[in-house]
Structure formats: C-alpha cells, structure tokens
C-alpha cells in the first residue's frame, strides 16, 4: 500500500460517486397522500348531517383524533364512538383483538355549528372501523391506520451507509494493526461496495413504484399494512372491480312520514354484497334524490352492514322521487348507479299534493323557476349565476357568486357542487322527468376561473349585478390559483376542512351538455355551516340553431 495507490483508490471512489450521480434520470415521486392525510367522511346520521374527520394517525399505539363537524340546525345530543380493529393476520397475536371494541369515547354535540372532538386510542396499524351511534342508529366507517414505511431501497441506503461506517472503523483498525498492508484491501473493498449499495439505493428510492395501496387498491390486512412491500402480491396494472347493483328496500313510501331508505349494494358479477366501498369525495356513498317539484337531497347514508347503507328520508309530498347513488369501489373508479325504480310517495291523507310547500331551502317548484341564470336568494344568501355558451357539445361555463364575501367553506372537499339533470320537459313533474332523463351529472368547482373576468353577459344574459363587473375579484392574488390554497393535498399534507371559511365567493363550473334541451341544475355550496342548494332551469341550444 503506497501513496499513489491510495490516491487512485480515493479517485476511484469519487468517480463512482460522481458517475452514479450522473446517472440520475427524472424520477416520479409519488407521495401516497391518501394513506397519510386526514379522512373526511360525511354522514347523514338520523336527522343530523355530520362531517366526521379522522385525523391522521402518526404513530401506533397512539391517539386517533376524531372531529365531528356539525352544521346549522344540527340537533344537540350525544354521539358514542368506538373503534374496532377488523384486520386479519398470519400472526394470531396481531389479530387477537380483531372484531372487538378497543376504545370508546363520547362526543357531546352542542347544537351550535362547529367542531366537536374526541380522542380514541388505536393499538396497531391495519384496517379498522369507527362506529358512531346516536342511540338509534349506528354508522360504521372503515379506515386504515397506516404505518410508517421504509421502502426496501431506502433500507438498503441506510444499511449501506452504516455498513460503510463500520468498515471505515474496521479499516482504520486493520491499517494500524496489520503487518501487511494488503489486509486493508479487504475491509476497504467492502467499504466501497457498501457505498455503492447505498448510493444505488438512494438514487433508486424515488423511482421505484410504490406497492398497491392497502385498502385503496387491494383488500387490507394487518400484515399488508405493516409491510405492503412484502405483501404486495402480483403487480397488476388494473385493480378495478366490477360495477355494483343498487337495490332500494322499498319503492313506495308515505309522504310526510320519516322512512328509512335502505340501499343494498351488490357486486354486478358475483351478486355478493358489495362491501369494499372506499371514501370518495368526502363520503362513502353520495345519495341524490330529486323530488316531484324540484327538490334535491344530497345525503350520505350510513353504512350499517356489509354493502348496506341507510338514511332516513321524509318525503314532503306525494309523487315520484328519482334516486341515484355515487360511490367508489376499492381498486378505483367512481360509479353512479341510478335506481331503476326510484321512490313513489303516496300522498298523506288529508293533504293535497300541490298545496304543500314545506318551508325548506332548496325546495322549489317548477313554477318558481324562470328559465336561465340569474339571482336567487336561498337561506338569506344571494346567489348570482351567469352562464355562457349554453350550446350542446360545447363547454358551458357556469359562474356563481355565492354571497359577497370570501367565506365559503369546502363541503365534501370541494367549494361547489353542480348537479345536472336533463334534457327534460320544463313543466313536467321533476321527479318523474329525472327518472327518465338521459343525463344525471355531478360536477365540482374548486373556485373561480383563473385569468377570467366574470362573464355576466352570457347567452342567457340576465343580471349585471353590482360587484360582478369585469374586474377580477382579487387582483393582488396569484392569478393562476385564485383561492384554492389548502384544498388540494400537497405532499401528504391534509386538506382544509369545513372550519376554513376562506374561499369564494366565486365558484365556477365547466360542463359540456351533451344534447340540447332544458336542464335542471342545482348548485351547492356551504356558507356559515349551511349547505345552500340553488336550483336553476337552463336551456341548452343545439349547434344547428346557432347558424343563421
């Protein structure tokens, strides 16, 4: 061992390090945000519309913070929460408490809109269920308690570097003890090998694909959540599952009475109960019901069993109610199922069908609606809608200003929801017309259109309302992302919940109406812990009509 050879070795090691750095190619970093962020689940529990937020669990055993957000009009009362591990494992001890209640807590709902909290202890990573009970009904929400993961290449990096550390010391020792210099080549060579392993692992770690998401793409087990790399199984490109079938428990009910609507989901291939619904757009299941005189319900039935969802519904008047459900199965893909039957409400005795006008926001009869956009006042909030290019096959831009202040709250993770039904006869009973309508769409808004002044003179040009001039509402802000901060998950950070009243007032939808005709639309947005539902009737012209 002499000086030149040592210098050569130093040079060789540096060359290896530099050349591996040079091999870098753009990696694709995938932050698995679904696994680490908060879980927002809207639940229609009895008469209460709640948003249950399961905060991210950062370590097990550890606390699970549950926030229950109530809305305006939510009754005071008490909720009993419980957590149950549901996973299976090859280890009997890991799964020994599966199926049993591990911890319980109570949440006192104050009757004032806002957040009520509870803390439950979760003992281990894996699939779990949170149950909420109001005394009469119990909702169960499946969720995954994640585990802090280290990918195999990352482990190789750390082991490689620490091995290099050990070998550095060993080589030092050998150098000062061994009579013959070449002995140092043994640990020295191993040191270089360790560094090569470490650097290779480091450069690969961001590029290797993550294992399939436990609970999101594949059925979760305790073992799988503990080590998804080991239990990833076959790597297939498509994890999707067959569509579902929606069965309503009964297709007739009596108007004016509260009836529990029971929805049974089954797999369209096997017919088995469809019990792999994952939280999508802030709920396990979105139930949309359209009533005879244009009422819209957007509810979130609670899961009461395998593939069974229930929601109490009080239908105000006799007539036909159209029903659809949106959900996503494990493995990906959102599906919208429209009930083939819908619900027929028999008029309650002693009441006339047309005479009853329940004083509830968002229930508006066909006669109230003028065709076209414009201003409406719902729950003391003025909503102004402008619509441009309402032509079939062209992207229509529906811009709504909800109130005048930027105090909209995200509901179901979105600033605005747009339900579209049509084409239909404008004077027909809406429930029946919806049942037979070809289009039943659900679109979302994440705020105002960037770089676009408010277009008030749309084809249906209605209101030149004050404050809706051609000036951008917030000229000082970043024009690319007006008011969207916090709504998208950045690198596993959790998104803003409903307590963040800092968005809007402009929300914009872009929707392409596929066919000409009359469409009923409902715009939904939340302000002051009230979900506003604003109905409109739009006329979409055909492309032919535009030509002279």
């Amino acid at each position: 061992m002499n000086a030149p050879s040592a210098a050569r070795r130093l040079g060789a090691v540096l060359a290896i390090l530099l050349s591996t750095l040079g091999l870098l190619m753009p990696p694709v970093a995938e932050a698995d945000s679904a696994a680490v962020g908060d879980l927002h689940v809207a639940q229609t529990l009895g008469g209460r519309e709640l948003t249950v937020i399961l905060r991210r669990v950062t370590g097990v055993p550890g606390p699970l913070h549950v926030d229950v957000i109530t809305h305006k009009g939510t009754a005071a009362g008490r909720l009993d929460l419980a957590v149950v591990p549901t996973g299976v494992s090859t280890s009997a001890s890991a799964a020994s408490v599966s199926g049993t209640t591990v911890d319980t807590a109570a949440v006192a709902l104050s009757g004032r809109p806002g957040t009520c909290s509870a803390v439950l202890d979760v003992t281990r990573a894996g699939p779990w269920e949170l149950s909420l009970s109001d005394g009469n009904r119990t909702a169960t929400i499946p969720f995954i308690v994640p585990k802090q993961l280290t990918s195999p290449p990352e482990t190789a990096v750390y082991l490689g570097f620490s091995g290099a550390g050990v070998l550095l010391l060993v080589t030092l020792l050998v150098a000062v003890r061994a009579r013959r210099g070449w002995w140092t080549l043994v640990p020295g060579g191993a040191l270089v090998a360790c560094l090569a392993v470490a650097v290779t692992g480091a450069l690969l770690s961001s590029r290797l694909p993550p294992p399939p998401s436990q609970g999101g793409q594949v059925d979760a087990t305790i073992d799988g959540v503990d080590d998804p790399y080991a239990y990833s199984g076959q790597r297939i490109g498509d994890y999707s599952r067959p569509p579902g079938t929606l069965l309503l428990s009964s297709s007739t009910t009596r108007a004016g009475e509260v009836a529990d609507v029971r929805l049974a989901l089954s797999d369209a291939s096997t017919g088995l109960p469809l019990d792999d619904v994952v939280v999508h757009d802030g709920a396990l299941l979105h139930l949309l019901v359209v009533g005879p005189s244009g009422q819209l319900w957007h509810l979130h039935p609670i899961r009461t069993g395998a593939g069974v969802f229930e929601v109490p519904l009080s239908l105000p008047e006799g007539g036909h109610y159209a029903v659809s459900a949106e959900f996503a199965r494990r493995g990906g893909g959102v599906q919208q199922l429209r009930s083939a039957t819908g619900i027929d409400a028999v008029p309650a005795t002693g009441r006339t069908t047309t005479g009853s006008r329940p004083e509830v926001a968002a229930r508006t009869t066909a006669g109230d609606l003028q065709v076209g956009a414009g201003a409406r006042t719902v729950a003391d909030v003025q909503v102004r809608l402008s619509a441009s290019s309402l032509v079939a096959g062209q992207a229509a831009v529906l811009s709504a200003r909800v109130g005048d202040t930027a105090t909209l709250q995200p509901w179901l993770g979105m600033l605005g929801h747009l339900i579209v039904v049509g084409p239909l006869a404008p004077e027909a009973a809406v429930g029946t017309a919806t049942q037979n309508a070809q289009v039943w769409a659900h679109s979302h808004s994440m705020g105002a259109m960037p770089d676009r002044t408010h277009d008030t003179s749309g084809t249906d040009g209605t209101a030149h309302a004050p404050g809706m001039g051609p000036h951008s509402p917030s000229p000082g802000l970043d024009p690319d992302m007006p008011g969207m901060g916090g709504l998208t998950s950045v690198n596993g950070d959790s998104t803003a919940d409903e307590t963040v009243a800092a968005y809007g007032p402009d929300i914009c939808f872009v929707h392409t109406f596929p066919a000409p005709g009359y469409y009923r639309i409902w715009i939904q947005a939340e302000r002051g812990y009230t979900v506003l539902t604003v109905p409109y009737l739009l006329h979409v012209t055909g492309t032919v009509e535009k030509r002279p």
């Binding site: 061992m1 540096l14 753009p26 932050a31 802090q148 570097f161 290099a164 080589t171």
Partner: protein
Amino acid sequence: MNPAPAYTVLAGTLMSLAGIHWDVQWHVDVGPDTFFTLPHLMLYSGSAIAGIASLVMVLRVTSAQRAGHPADPAVGGSPVRVLGGRFTAPLGYLVAGTGAALFLLYGLLDLWWHSLYGFDAVLDSPPHVALFISISLTMVGSVIVFAAARAQPWGRIGLVAGIPVLIMFTPLTTNAFSRLGLPIDARLAGSVFFAVCLVLMGAITLRRRRVALSIAVVLGLMQLFLWWFSPWAARVYADYVGLPLRDNLVGVPPLLPSIPMFMLVAALVIEGLLGLGRRRGWSARWLPQLVGAAGGVVVSLSMLVQMSSLSGGAGPVGRSAASVTAVVSDVLLGLTLGALAGFLAARFAVLLHLNAPAADQEGR
C-alpha cells in the same frame, strides 16, 4: 506534502453543510420525505467522502511506517497509537474519520427513530443530534489537520476555510438544548460562544494579522451562498421530482437566522483588540478573555438585531427585541460566554500547537 486529502476532507464537510441546509429547506418548502432524497444523499456522501479521504491518509501514513519512515506530525497532526496498534495514525485524520464513521452508523439509528415516530420527527431528535455531533467531529478533525499544516500556505488557507464550516454547523447542535427550558436561549448562547471561540482560536493559532477578519469574510460568503443555494436547490429538486412546493413559504432559509451575520464587526473588534494588546504588551494571561468578552458582546447584540429583523420583531425566545432587559441580558450573556470562549480559545490554540510542534517555528 500533498494538500489534496486535507481539502477533500474539507470538501466533504462543506458538502454535509450544504446538504443539511438543503435538506432543512426541503422539509420546510416541500414536506415530509417519501424516499431517500438528494439532500440526504449529499449529506451522507459528504461524510463518506471525508471519511474515505481520512482513511486514505491513515493508510498512507501506516504504509509509510511499514516501509520504515517515521510519522510526520505535520501530516494531519501528532501520531496516535490506536487500541494498542502496531502503527500510528495522525490525530486529525483519525478524528475526522471516526466522526464520519459515526455519522454513517447513526444513520441507522435515525432510520429506526423515524420508523418509530414517523416523518414528523423534529430537527433535534436524539439521532439527529448524534448525527450533528458526528459531523462536527469530522469538522474538528479537518481543523486539526489544517492547524498541523499551518507552516504551509495551504494549511493556513484551509484553517481559515475550515473554521467557518464549524461555526456554521454549531447552531444545529446547540438547537437541541432549546427544548430543555434553559433560562437563556441555547441557540443564541451557542452562536456567541462558538463563533467567538473558534474565530479567536484561529487567530491565536495562526498568530497572524487579519486571520479573524478572513474567517469572518469566509463565514459571510458561505452564508450568502447558502442563502441563495438552499431555496434554489429545494425548488429545483422539487421541480425535478415533480412535487409541489407548499404555499405558505417564507423567504428566509430556516437555518441561517441563528448563524451570526455580523461576524465581520465582531472580527474587527477582535482583530483590533488583539493587535492593540500585542502592541501594548498586555498580559497574555488576560488578553484572550478580554478580547473574547468584547467579541461576545458584539456578536450577542448583533444577534439581537439579526433575529428581530429576520423573524419579524420577536426576539430569539419570543420576547420583544427592543426591551431594555433583553439588551442587558444579551450583553451579560455576551460578556460571560465571550470571556469563557476567549479563555478556551487560547487553550485550544495551545493544543493545536502542541499537536504539531515541529511546524511551529516556521509558522511564526
């Protein structure tokens, strides 16, 4: 004598320094790690490079001994017999190499810690502090190496470059004490103490004019570089891997506020007092403490200005920056810690001299 290995060790420590600033900026700007990032790789590679360079020097020295040549203390410091070994290894490279090896080993502890407590682990977790101390050890090793070669121009230049690296790094380690609820701000105390002590140690070791000033200039240049580098690198790397930046970013690189920015002023004071003392023949027994205390007050007060201007009005421990008690307590802290730093700096300088006495004659 070949300066390449010594400068390789220094380059390794510089890589670690830049890597850690980049990494902290990355965590602030982008978020938790989902893979082994390039900043981490830079941090680890820095230690690996410093470690390998140290190892190569130990191998060279031992192989020279095998060939029958005695060890030269000017190469990396005085020869040390390790665990009853047959041959000796130079102290500086031994310290640097051990520091690097410990750093690489503590990486495993860090992995274990993260697997227990998740990616939200803080900067001052026990494995992190162990990592920081290990890197500091490598940096101390490089200072010993350069001090041993102070007869050569490259040794003096290396010392002037190596000391600021250590100054830049100490706030990371002293930050760990801020959780203990001490009556004084640990970061401020650490910055005052280490900045004064290390600058003074360099000046006394080299016994030349303008050494303190040069160290302060290099320190300032490094700060300027990192001020630009860490946000730039974090942004470029985020773009590269396709991750978005957080939307609530502040402009200040997170680690820089606790590193003295006005070291040049303190260095001027130290330089002036040292020169004055030497010209007037002040007692060498008290001169370091006096100079240290003066430097300490300047650094301490400058940190008050720096922290309040960077963190928007609030002082280092959250108190109002302008209050009289803050100024008085900072002056007291600067005086006492500065005097202590001066006391120790003189003794460290003696140690560095004893480490390679043969070169001492030329160094004057």
